[in-house]
Amino acid sequence: MGRGWVGDGSGLTGWRRFSRKVTVSGVITAGFELKPPPYPLDALEPHMSRETLDYHWGKHHKTYVENLNKQIVGTDLDGLSLEEVVLLSYNKGNMLPAFNNAAQAWNHEFFWESIKPEGGGKPAGELLRLIERDFGSFEDCLERFKSAAASQFGSGWTWLAYKANRLDVANAVNPLPKEEDKKIVIVKTPNAVNPLLWDYSPLLTIDTWEHAYYLDFEVPSKCQMIFTKFESNGSHRVVFYAEPKSSIHKHIHGQACVMGNGKLKARIRNG
């Protein structure tokens, strides 16, 4: 997994994590890796069976990555980070063919990190404070999350995300950002769409495509699955800490968020 400091002129600076590219004979070609989940495939039993992981990661996720690589080799999207491919292929809603595979590759990678064995419990520290500020209580947030996930029409994802200073207007930037604009939100997205496209910072996600739960739960227990998996979500892995820098940072990978003027910064701690 590579990390690079991005200091481009777009105003987005910060550490950016991206999947490693494979170099063949000095020429960089499309080679996104199928990164394995950070735990053995049977480690989530009994909540999620090994069989599900075998198919979900070993077939679905793998196919997205393989097809994405085939699609972008030799094109303008070749050689970019996964996040860049997602954003560029989204093309403001007029999706290019690579979008579906790129976004699904990103979503699944984020999903495996949103859950972990012996996970669950409650978040702590700054994240808990924000959740309590924006939802009243963690329990309320959890209830809203579950009902959002259970009420998806068709395939999609349910996200806990951080919404930065934005008006609720596409492509607008709030000229007078206030503390109240920044909040934790629960969003549902259809098919492959994810909240990176709206410049939100995803914190957690659950896959609500049928393939995510069908082998283990089938229909009537979808709610049970959601509950169980959220309990497995490593939300306590999101760590907020104070950072005395004055420049504004933004973490594209969605594993962190910024509260303006670099006062607070969040980062998913690995392991």
């Binding site: 077939k59 029409f153 068709g154 098919n191 495509w209 049928e210 393939h211 069908y214 089938e218 229909v219």
Partner: protein, 244 residues
Amino acid sequence: MSIINVSIIFLIAIFAVNIDAGVGKTITMDPCLESMKTASLPDLPYAYDALEPAISEEIMQLHHQKHHQTYVTQYNKALGKLRSALADGDHSSVVKLQSLIKFNGGGHVNHAIFWKNLAPVHEGGGKPPHDPLSSAIDAHFGSLEGLIQKMNAEGAAVQGSGWVWFGLDKELKRLVVETTANQDPLVTKGSHLVPLIGIDVWEHAYYPQYKNARAEYLKNIWSVINWKYASDVYERNNRDQTEI
């Protein structure tokens, strides 16, 4: 004795008239809504294992008894809420309910067609269509194989959940292959479209048996497609056109 009998009959007659009069009086809303018919889960015209090996018994049972039943239940619930909202003149609730009605009602409509689109092999499943549908297919798609290939390609390309349809455009008198997302019925793609065959490509339609191999499911399902039903619908809707 006879006077008493007559009196009793007379009293009963008066009473009966009063009962009749009472029934019509208490309603304040449009009597049309009183007779709103709700949906019910249709029986499968074959056993759950009758479509093996193309579609497993496990899938048929889950698909019919759980998925379709849930659409029916939720659709009826939404209709009940719609009735109340209409009665109250609560128009924003009426509007808010539309997406639930579209999704669950669409799920009911689509699956009701789907069960009729399938038939066990020993009852004609997989048997190619006869004229006039057969000639129409050849005219529009080159051959039956050509139609099947197109359906399978479109069905495999549906991203997420949806349906692939073989339909008749009544107005343009053309056969079409279309896809719809989620539980949108074919008519959402055109009000003159009549579904002849619909294939469910939601993951629940094939996952326990085929896992992520949707293309394999699409290849196999043709061995249990009920062309007789498709032909009947085609002839009925084509005939209507010429009678006008």
